[in-house]
């Protein structure tokens, strides 16, 4: 029982990562009708915002310590962080410690800007082009973004630890009446899950309860009619691209402590998030979220030793297997709309 609860927690955690990325992807699909192969790259950029903030906070000037030597026998250069110097060492240490959550403050405006520039500068010109062209141009963009990150940060994963307050585990088992340590779950993963749930709820509330959201939803359903009503849907769509980028960026920041960022991380998530979106059904936001959590949980269960003993290698193919089964039983995925991306 405790093993199953653990895997459900893992599944929710994985699922919230999938859902957040798929949510942005499907927003772009639904509103702009664009297949965005660069969405994984936006997630990666978010993760590297966390890396950059961490690096900025530990930016240092050099003091030479004559009493010690480095590996070549020269006097040791000791690095003194600027923020310690400016804010005092206590605040400096706190800022370094909290660099990942603090990155959220940076990543939202930054990703909106990135989204805005991409949409106005590039994606806009591809609304009327075939999906194949959209795929190629955004794939090219993803490669370019990845290479720029590689040139700046190298190819090695970079450790971005969570604040020390969130290190360690929460003993979920005790709360549910199990033995101590039966279900100990990392604190940061709980934070990540809660954060994702809040973001998903916010996006839905925004689309459901604001006039802006209503217009966007109307535009998703029938763009031409909305345009004829004299509403400038293009501006709103630009904003939606920015929003999708910001959601991906926030997911990237918060996931950085779990998965050390490297320049290829976007590509790793790209295929998976497409599968999630399609299983959920093209153009359906609830579908994307539902499919994200479902695939996350199924993948966690498939990774259990008991299941793997039954079917070796099932954990490696479960996502694709489930995708095939769902697409064959439900022609447009879980909640897809008729006619979206079917031609």
């Amino acid at each position: 029982m405790d093993a199953i609860i653990l895997q459900i927690l893992n599944g929710l955690d994985k699922g919230s990562a999938y859902a957040l990325i798929a949510l942005g992807l499907t927003l772009i699909f639904g509103t702009l009708g664009v297949v965005n192969f660069a969405h994984g790259a936006l997630f990666m950029v978010g993760a590297f915002v966390a890396v950059t903030v961490q690096k900025l906070f530990s930016l240092s000037y050099i003091e030479i310590d004559e009493t010690r030597t480095d590996f070549l026998g020269n006097p040791l250069k000791v690095e003194m962080p600027y923020i310690d110097h400016w804010f005092g060492s206590a605040t400096g240490a706190w800022m370094q410690d909290w660099s990942v959550p603090l990155s959220i403050l940076v990543v939202v405006p930054f990703m909106f800007l990135v989204g805005f520039v991409l949409e106005r500068g590039l994606i806009k010109h591809f609304y009327k082009r075939p999906h194949a062209d959209q795929i190629l141009v955004t794939f090219g963009l993803a490669i370019v973004i990845g290479e720029i990150i590689k040139a700046l940060y190298g190819a090695n994963p970079i450790q971005t630890p969570p604040p020390s307050a969130f290190l360690g585990t929460v003993d979920v088992g005790v709360m549910l009446g199990f033995e101590p340590n039966a279900i100990a779950y990392p604190t940061w993963r709980m934070v990540y899950f809660a954060f994702s749930a809040v973001i998903i709820a916010c996006v839905f509330a925004f689309l459901q309860f604001t006039t802006f959201g209503m217009v966007v939803r109307a535009g998703m359903a029938d763009r031409e009619t909305v345009g004829m009503l004299g509403i400038d849907i293009d501006k709103r769509f630009t904003f939606m691209f920015g929003l999708a980028a910001a959601v991906a960026g926030m997911a990237g920041v918060m996931y950085a402590p779990i998965l050390s960022p490297h320049y290829n991380i976007g590509m790793d998530f790209l295929v998976l998030s497409f599968v999630v979106v399609v299983v959920g059904g093209m153009g359906s936001l609830p579908g994307a979220v539902l499919a994200g959590f479902m695939l996350g949980i199924l993948q966690s269960f498939a990774s259990m030793n008991e299941v793997k003993a039954l079917i070796p290698g099932i954990d490696q193919i479960i996502i694709y297997l489930v995708a095939i089964i769902i697409l064959l039983t439900r022609p447009r995925g879980l909640m897809g709309r008729k006619g979206v991306m079917e031609e």
């Binding site: 405790d2 994985k14 190298g154 630890p161 360690g168 585990t169 990392p186 993963r189 779990i258 790793d268």
Partner: protein
């Protein structure tokens, strides 16, 4: 296509070139006159440095490339000579190899066998390389080694740790300086026995491919020999990213040791996540829970950050060793690039020098002569103490380092500390040991 623009003049031109090509008087069989592939012509000889420059191991590949360029400088008499000063064989004098200046070409393996072979083929067919070295994975090493055997050039493997490279897939034209999974386990186990005792229960997470399996098999065999119990071995997909669903069950399995048979990014993620799951803070069976990473590299250590503190593993070589060879290499590398070399870089540097030395001693670039010179060659002064290339499987035998994540690092490069230098005798094995059996070196192939 609708637009062909096929003019009569164009046809005639092409036709003329074709017929000229067919009527050529100088009609030769390739390299018939020299007896082996890519015999160096003129006053230069070309090496091929085939390393990952894109993909997950790009940084490791670039470090290999730095070391190889340094080796070429030293062979050509530029710089301080590095290990040439400490190498026990003294035939290399900084005037190139057999009087020929060393040149090199570089290529990108992308850590994919197909691409690595394409790149190596280009080096052999187009650039006329006489030797290929480098690489950062066993799959690639085995693929390129096979290619070099067929083409008739020498392959000096870079970083490859799978038993198969000099086991099932050994080739006469291929040589491995790097250690292997069996040697890691053999070196690590006595130290583990000393610090963690003989009554331990180990849980293995293993990357689901050949290297992972051979690492796990070796670790399980050697730790079971000192009385440990292997509770479970779980295969994890390569590049899984999130290992939570594999790590979560560990704590309640009754195991008190977690062995991570992962490499590169997988190891960074699985170790980080295992620490986040609180494994290192827990007590099981009345003992502190411990994590072991059998194979370490500097880049992995850097990627894992503070998580590796106190975690044991093994290495082929580390710049902190105190012998003269290591000091000389670390000095010339550090002065040129500003940071210490990695173990992968050391292996590639040494391999390049060893090849040049073998050619010089043999007095010929002919691969068969080089093979003869390298087989059962004993040398010293290359950073690993007395070393020898075993003729039976082309594996180098030398001391192995047992490492531990530094508890209180003083600089960015101070991530690992040497716990013990396990003497060579402890890691030696028979060339037909079951984990290595089934291979056949075959005959040396000089090519054309």
């Amino acid at each position: 296509m609708s637009k062909s623009n096929f003019t009569r003049r164009g046809v005639m031109k092409t036709g003329a070139v074709t017929s000229a090509g067919l009527m050529l008087p100088t009609y030769l069989r390739a390299e018939n006159h020299t007896g082996f592939t890519n015999a160096p012509q003129g006053d230069t000889v070309k090496f091929g440095f085939n390393v990952p420059q894109t993909g997950p191991y790009a940084d490791e590949g670039l470090d290999e490339l730095r070391a190889q360029e340094l080796a070429v400088e030293h062979l050509n008499g530029i710089g301080d000579g590095g290990m040439l000063n400490t190498f026990s064989s003294k035939v290399l004098d900084g005037t190139g190899v057999l009087g020929k200046k060393v040149e090199f070409v570089t290529g990108d393996t992308q850590t994919k066998s197909d691409v690595a072979r394409a790149s190596a083929q280009s080096m052999i067919q187009k650039d006329g390389c006489i030797m290929i070295t480098g690489g950062s994975s066993s799959g690639v090493a085995i693929a390129v080694q096979g290619l070099c055997q067929e083409a008739g050039v020498i392959f000096m493997a870079g970083l490859t740790h799978s038993n198969d490279t000099t086991g099932k897939d050994r080739k006469r034209n291929g040589f491995r300086h790097f250690f292997n999974a069996y040697m890691s386990a053999a070196a690590l186990t006595p130290v583990l026995e000393k610090v963690y005792g003989t009554d331990r229960r180990a849980y293995h997470l293993t990357a689901d491919y050949t290297w992972g399996w051979s690492q796990q098999e070796s670790m399980a065999a050697s730790t079971e020999a000192i009385g440990w119990e292997t509770v479970q071995n779980v295969l994890t997909p390569v590049g899984a990213g999130d290992f939570s669903s594999y790590i979560a069950p560990v704590l309640n399995s009754g195991a008190d040791i977690l062995v991570l048979n992962h490499y590169g990014g997988d190891m960074v993620n699985s170790l980080t996540q295992a620490i986040q799951f609180g494994l290192k803070d827990k007590q099981v069976n009345g003992k502190n829970f411990e994590i072991i990473v059998p194979l370490y590299s500097e880049l992995m250590a850097a990627g894992a950050g503070s998580n590796i503190q106190g975690v044991y593993g093994s290495m082929n070589w580390n710049w902190q060793l105190q012998d003269a060879g290591t000091a000389a290499f670390t000095k010339s590398f550090g002065e040129k690039y500003g940071f210490p070399p990695s173990g992968a870089a050391h292996s590639c540097y040494v391999q390049t020098l060893l090849y040049a030395d073998a050619v010089t001693r043999a007095g010929s670039f002919n691969p068969c002569a080089v093979v003869e010179a390298l087989e059962d060659f004993d040398f010293d002064g290359m950073g690993n103490g007395p070393t020898s290339y075993r003729g039976a499987d082309h594996q180098c035998f030398k001391d192995v380092l047992v490492m531990k994540g530094t508890e209180a690092p003083t600089s960015a490069y101070d991530t690992l500390e040497i716990v013990e230098v396990t003497p060579r005798a402890q890691v030696e094995y028979d060339s037909e040991h079951p984990m290595f059996a089934g291979g056949d070196l075959g005959a040396c192939n000089p090519g054309a």
